[in-house]
């Protein structure tokens, strides 16, 4: 990877990655993760295929970074629960809702998306929020295109129900 490539890719896609990570991690503290995504891209540059899209490749790295970060967060919380005397305050004081400037209507939809099961959330964020094509989504998730179509359809159905449930609870 040349310096020129990094500069190009970073300035072209950093907002896309930031946006994706806000949704995927449901956390407001994702700047370090954006950096981690590009560091992993630099070290894994040999695996990038020239004919594929950098955006799709970077999003699939971002997804793995987010999964790792969520696992790490869970482990840290568990550790803190086990050593009660060492409980730290959560660091991310800015919520995704604040960063995304969500109004009440948007919040309900955002919360409904976050409450979906993992497969559904994956496909809603990629196809819905990030507006990737079926082919791009299939590449990021390592699924076939048919599975993307079917899962997206099911996810929309589940999201609709979840949204209605949120409305009923209010």
């Amino acid at each position: 990877m040349t310096t020129h490539d990094i500069t190009d890719w970073f300035y072209q896609y950093n907002k896309d990655i930031y946006h994706f990570l806000i949704y995927y991690t449901a956390s407001g503290d994702v700047e370090d993760l954006v950096q981690e995504v590009f560091i992993r891209a630099i070290t894994a540059m040999d695996t990038f295929k020239e004919d594929s899209s950098p955006k799709t490749w970077l999003i699939s790295i971002a997804r793995h970074v987010a999964i790792d970060a969520n696992r790490k967060k869970k482990r840290t919380r568990l550790k803190e629960m086990l050593t009660i005397d060492n409980v730290s305050e959560p660091k991310d004081d800015t919520t995704p809702e604040q960063i995304l400037q969500l109004n009440e209507k948007h919040k309900r939809l955002y919360q409904a998306i976050q409450s979906l099961k993992k497969n559904y959330r994956d496909v809603i964020i990629l196809r819905g929020v990030k507006e990737l094509t079926v082919t791009e989504t299939a590449t990021v998730l390592n699924w076939n295109e048919n599975k993307v179509r079917v899962t997206f359809h099911r996810a929309l159905h589940a999201l609709q129900k979840e949204k209605e449930r949120f409305l009923d609870e209010e």
């Binding site: 310096t3 907002k15 946006h19 999964i67 960063i99 995304l100």
Partner: protein, 356 residues
């Protein structure tokens, strides 16, 4: 799959606001990260860094070897102990892995007995299983990893097929609150480049293959109807029209003449299709074509290949394929396209001949 009924919802999702970049991820912050990345790139290019990575690699390898020699107990047969915890549980002879687990683990074993055999489970939720399991039952997952690998990314199919994982054991517990016992267990492992599952319960053992999307392919000899799907469709279609439809769907279709099968003396035309073969038998006698169903199965289904067959007015069309880990997604895609071709023909035929 049509999402028309959800268009409004899709629009709502797409209209969710973007982050306030100016306040939370502004140019200054982006420049800081960029500077750091340039530094990392430079560091990555230096020869000392390359040398250091090789040295670290050798160091890690030595440490792993030392660990294996000192820590992992080896029994008299030279095989590894089953009772290890964490993600480094291993067998030396991976060929017999399923047999050996079945030999060790009995239905109705208690939690203590299972722990004694395999140690602490690597995961207790059913999240890592390929197929859905009952939410009422607790499932213990054990990952039998190949040396030096750990199960990080959560994709069981990939881990098995790439050889990082030798097998996964999923133990399902009975829902009895007072005395939990093994109600069934499944062993996922690779056989003939496919993921085979041995499911053991009080009723005996079932075997089936798993595809990347989680669907099952039967391997049981008594359950052969899954190995061939056969549809009789009464629509007028010529071979040329059919071939054209395949080409329209971007499925390569080059004729072949090698080893063409015959049914009731009618030899097939053979075509190379992506990840499989397409065979077409054209009959002049309509009576004869209606009696060949069982012959189609006998001719095309073998131990490691599956087939999808269609009978038209005077034509038998068979798509024969051998699913392996590397082609299974293409095979699924072709099967899906094949069905869509047939559906398109049926619709076209209904429109053209409403009274047929």
């Amino acid at each position: 799959m049509k999402n028309d009924q959800y268009n409004e919802l899709i629009e709502k999702i797409r209209s969710l606001p973007k982050p306030d970049y100016e306040r939370h991820f502004n140019k200054e912050r982006q420049d800081q990260i960029h500077q750091h990345l340039l530094h990392v790139t430079k560091k990555n290019k230096t020869p000392t860094n390359w040398f250091r990575r090789v040295a670290i690699g050798f160091g890690s390898l030595a440490a792993v070897l030392l660990f294996l020699i000192m820590i992992i107990p080896v029994d008299q047969n030279g095989t590894l102990d089953l009772g290890q915890t964490g993600s480094n549980r291993q067998f030396n002879d991976t060929k017999d892995i399923a047999t050996r687990i079945q030999h060790e683990l009995e239905i109705e074993a208690t939690k203590g007995q299972v722990r004694e055999l395999f140690g602490k489970p690597d995961a207790i939720t059913p999240e890592n299983s390929i197929e859905d399991v009952s939410h009422n039952s607790e499932v213990w997952n054990y990952h039998f990893m190949r040396t030096g690998n750990s199960f990080n990314d959560g994709n069981l199919y990939q881990a098995l097929i790439t050889g990082e994982m030798n097998a996964q054991l999923q133990v399902t517990w009975s829902s009895n609150l007072f005395k939990k016992k093994v109600s069934s267990y499944s062993i996922y492992y690779v056989k003939d480049e496919q993921i085979l599952v041995d499911h053991v319960s009080m009723d005996g053992i079932n075997h089936y293959y798993i595809t990347p999307d989680g669907s099952r392919l039967s391997v049981d000899e008594n359950d052969q109807q899954d190995e061939i799907t056969y549809r009789k469709i009464n629509i007028p279609v010529s071979l040329d029209q059919m071939i054209q439809l395949f080409r329209d769907k971007n499925l390569t279709i080059d004729p072949t003449e090698e080893d063409l099968p015959s049914i009731h003396g009618v030899e097939a035309n053979g075509y190379h299709l992506k990840e499989g073969m397409l065979y077409v038998h054209q009959y002049t006698d309509d009576q004869l074509v209606s009696t060949v169903e069982s012959e189609v199965k006998d001719t095309y289904v073998s131990s490691n290949s599956l087939a999808q067959a269609y009978q038209f007015n005077n034509m038998i069309l068979v798509y024969k394929y051998t699913p392996t880990y590397s082609n299974i997604e293409t095979v699924q895609d072709i099967r899906w396209k094949l069905n869509s071709i047939i559906d398109a023909l049926i619709v076209a035929s209904d429109v053209n001949n409403p009274h047929q």
